[in-house]
Symmetry: D2
Subunit: 345 residues, 4 copies
Amino acid sequence: MQRVAVLTEPDHVVLEEREIPEPGPGQVQVAVRAVSVCGSDVHYYDHGRIGGFVMHGPLVLGHETSGVVSAVGPEVEAGPGGGVTVGTRVAVEPQAECGRCEQCRQGRYHLCPQIAFFATPPIDGSFAEYVVVPAHRAHPVPDSLSDEAAALIEPLSVALHAAAKADIGPGTRVLVSGAGPVGLLCLQVALARGAAAVVVTDVMALRREAATEYGATATVDANDHDTALAAVDDVLGQADVVLECTGVQPAVDLAVAATAPAATVVLVGTGATVTLALDVVQSRELVVKGTFRYAHVYPAAIELAASGRIRLDSMVTSHHPLEDAVGALLAARRDPLALKAVVHP
Amino acid sequence: MQRVAVLTEPDHVVLEEREIPEPGPGQVQVAVRAVSVCGSDVHYYDHGRIGGFVMHGPLVLGHETSGVVSAVGPEVEAGPGGGVTVGTRVAVEPQAECGRCEQCRQGRYHLCPQIAFFATPPIDGSFAEYVVVPAHRAHPVPDSLSDEAAALIEPLSVALHAAAKADIGPGTRVLVSGAGPVGLLCLQVALARGAAAVVVTDVMALRREAATEYGATATVDANDHDTALAAVDDVLGQADVVLECTGVQPAVDLAVAATAPAATVVLVGTGATVTLALDVVQSRELVVKGTFRYAHVYPAAIELAASGRIRLDSMVTSHHPLEDAVGALLAARRDPLALKAVVHP
Amino acid sequence: MQRVAVLTEPDHVVLEEREIPEPGPGQVQVAVRAVSVCGSDVHYYDHGRIGGFVMHGPLVLGHETSGVVSAVGPEVEAGPGGGVTVGTRVAVEPQAECGRCEQCRQGRYHLCPQIAFFATPPIDGSFAEYVVVPAHRAHPVPDSLSDEAAALIEPLSVALHAAAKADIGPGTRVLVSGAGPVGLLCLQVALARGAAAVVVTDVMALRREAATEYGATATVDANDHDTALAAVDDVLGQADVVLECTGVQPAVDLAVAATAPAATVVLVGTGATVTLALDVVQSRELVVKGTFRYAHVYPAAIELAASGRIRLDSMVTSHHPLEDAVGALLAARRDPLALKAVVHP
Amino acid sequence: MQRVAVLTEPDHVVLEEREIPEPGPGQVQVAVRAVSVCGSDVHYYDHGRIGGFVMHGPLVLGHETSGVVSAVGPEVEAGPGGGVTVGTRVAVEPQAECGRCEQCRQGRYHLCPQIAFFATPPIDGSFAEYVVVPAHRAHPVPDSLSDEAAALIEPLSVALHAAAKADIGPGTRVLVSGAGPVGLLCLQVALARGAAAVVVTDVMALRREAATEYGATATVDANDHDTALAAVDDVLGQADVVLECTGVQPAVDLAVAATAPAATVVLVGTGATVTLALDVVQSRELVVKGTFRYAHVYPAAIELAASGRIRLDSMVTSHHPLEDAVGALLAARRDPLALKAVVHP
């Protein structure tokens, strides 16, 4: 038996004893070492839903996961880059695709309509001692990567996937809208891709300071649209790429206003709707892209973090045992300087 | 002296005598033969403005223009595809770029901040006997193209430019939203690019019939969202590409709802703002593109029309002398079957 | 038992009785109706090998295949566009991928290192009464498509895949090098994508005449390099896209010489090596692309042929029973006007 | 009057007194501070020609140039990023396009058929005290960039332009073929774009050591094809991108052999012809791209060097006064460790 932290209804997390899941064909069992908390976990904790994803029963939260392979199921073959065996330290890519639909066959497995994704109803997550995943979604990590950093490969993958949609490279002037954890990772990724300059906007001074620490060329107070727009213009001129990480309308307005002609705006932050100034989108021929989780990027994320080009450990601001999962969920609310709380089951 | 139809203020067009403009260096003078009316002309006639473009004085409307070169200025060189001389029949690309800014140097001359575009304040258009344009914007047309069709090369260029942003080809399932003149041209262009199927939506039955005549695989009544969405799904499944030609929110909502994962939505229709369902844009990883006029496409448009692959003449539903410019501007309002009114100065 | 035509060694084809293969999980059995002959079949018949693909035992030739589903294995699900059942007429995509390797997961299943492709040693082809294929590789065809046309969906897919690598659309000036069956299909596909002009080169006058019949803007005698280059230039100016369908060095030389700056050259024709004028490739910044079979294009090919935009039936120049498989293999050699010989098992 | 080093015929460089050129409309005059020597300069010195570019009279060599604006002609406007004035330190982009042809209008000014490029017959280069260039080709550099580094912005631009053709980013496994100056710059650029790993091949041990110093993940002795291929495979697996910087056939063979499916090979090194294994190019669907000089990249190159992400100063291995231009041209020949010789007029 194993211990699992279960969200039974909004605001209620209980520790339960459950069967340890056994790996089926093509799967491995992972003994969980670290699970970092994502804003989506907090949202389920508060509201029991995110948009169309609604809890209809108990849900185990947690999807940013690292651990050690503890059992290997039948029919597990070595994949590209070698395979996993009992004892391999891994970053867990928390999704399992059907492998047979049009999206899977086109290489867009993250858009598979049957995708099973950790901590997305009705799929349980990793606030647990053991999880089972497809073997090819358990990605080996080198010793240089801590358990916490290996868990943070997940949000780093979100940032890498988003940035890859925008063709950032030398010469690119980037605006990152929002200096939360994903924004800070987008900032780091843009720099790792050689961006000419990265300006980060946020409404909170402490977050802007964090952006400066992580290498922002400049930060801009987003509280007043016109002042902020002028400040972006002073540092950056116009943005060739915007990585919008807030999902908040005033931030979107600022992001769109700050673009150069032919710029790309990647919508990373979540929300119900987004309203765009159509005349600006047209007269500048903007390209606005939705981004969803990630696909095919875990190995690149691991490599970037292991080589030291992306800093992950410093983003961990608190540690919690499984019985304090709620403490981890509420960490960001209690401390405006908190970035990433990590649960250690 | 020449006669010119001038919009002095909203709802007031007067005929004036004006000097015939002489071609400067690199320019040609064109004796205008046909000017087809665009919705933007009607919008200036009604409101004196379109978004941020505001009349502050008299404005000559008309930008969809054909004619015959009547004088050639100094320093006119033969360009790619040969040059023009007095007597050459031409389709007039109604824009003059600065040629020196970053946008011009990057090949996006239509996004030049200094662009001078016909019938956009304060630049006069072609409801006139003579206009002057850069020689390289006067594109020779073959005899097989009528004067009216040569004028319609302009909106055809809008459709070609929009469709080119969406990589339509064999296998592509296309939704065209709106069966006005631009929608019908987008439909024809999608077919000319080899699209697998093109479904056209509109709220008016007569317009849907026109779409059928121009080759739509099916048409769908857009009045009720859910019914329309189901109807699109019946014929097309999901749309790989949407060419949104209305700028109206319910049509945008339908367009976004009808998309396949990884689809492209091109925003062709104009308006103040557009609101997108962010969770759909993200969970399908949609690409939403603004399109603005056109660049580099007049020769392709002329070739397609001249070879008979795009039908333009049948879209002309009325002819007007210059003194009846108002009749041309109001034609679409008076007759729901009207597509394109043409002024012959 | 069924009859099968087996190539036992070069120049020797014998009819054998073999077991009828039963469909396994996810597979269907197809009763073969038509198999058109490809140059690669003839090459195995003559030489027993194509480059690194070498016969080490008897081989059943034939991979351009249509038929009727005669049995359905277990675990066959309906796929996108519906499913197949006993009695469904199908075009057979003659490849089965592993579905688990990096190439399959990236959506490039045709590059799967474990791909099993008909009539490629040691995989048998379709000169047989029955074949077994993965259910998702048996593509339903409408009644409007003849059995022969359904078989020709295979080479049409080659042409579609090649043309898709070159972004052909309105305005594109295309050079097709070689007027054999694949060249004629590339010609038709380029036109179906809206190409501005398609010039076809060949050394044989009869083949050039065929190109004219299939819609070539012009044809050029490729026998003398300089004359041919001047002739291409006369009609086309420079080529934005070349579809090189011969694999022969003088044709490659002509193709490269005829390019415009920033042009794309797709290498469709096969051979051991190809030598490029490096200074031309560099000073024009050419993009040279290898193309291999196809992926994801059968439905588009079927749609294009069924809608009449591509003519396939007229390419069939002879019919042969299974016992005359050799006659089909030698048809092109005996008759310079022959395009496609079809075997009906 | 100024002093100029003139190549009168192969192997003969003389110092001459010449008129100081005055800047015309839109031009600036630059007092030259540093000119680094390129392999093409040495090639003209040795052979009087490079491929189709042939000296028919005296030629001033040198095109990698920095200096200080010494005079500004009429009609010089501030460009994007501000303008230049007397006293501005600049990196000189050594090309002047016509600005009116199809290539210029498409944004590919470096492919302009009328391009005037320094030290390419009959255009003189910068082994001179003063040169004149279009104002928009004189790019301001910050004080943090030395004169020598500002000259080396030119070859860095070559590397940036080449790497941009290959979409290098996080996760990309890169092979750089050849560890000369351009290879070392390509290596640095690949790392600056976030490449997962960069392996550099060369036949000379000393050059491989230099590659290690500049950050290569590993280096491989290219002398024996099979051994080298196995060594690349050990470190990198297959290469997603190859930057081929030698132009030598055995290196091209190795580069092609080392590719992953769907890889991109950029041909940077120059030569007469290149022969490709057609079956490999096809069965892996390789994309082979020619690259030519650069366009639109000087600002990005300056930014990367100024921010310290690319090391240029350490590549300068000797300094020469103008009267020792020959010493600079021969430096690489005399010293196998020499990378960049710089002339200071």
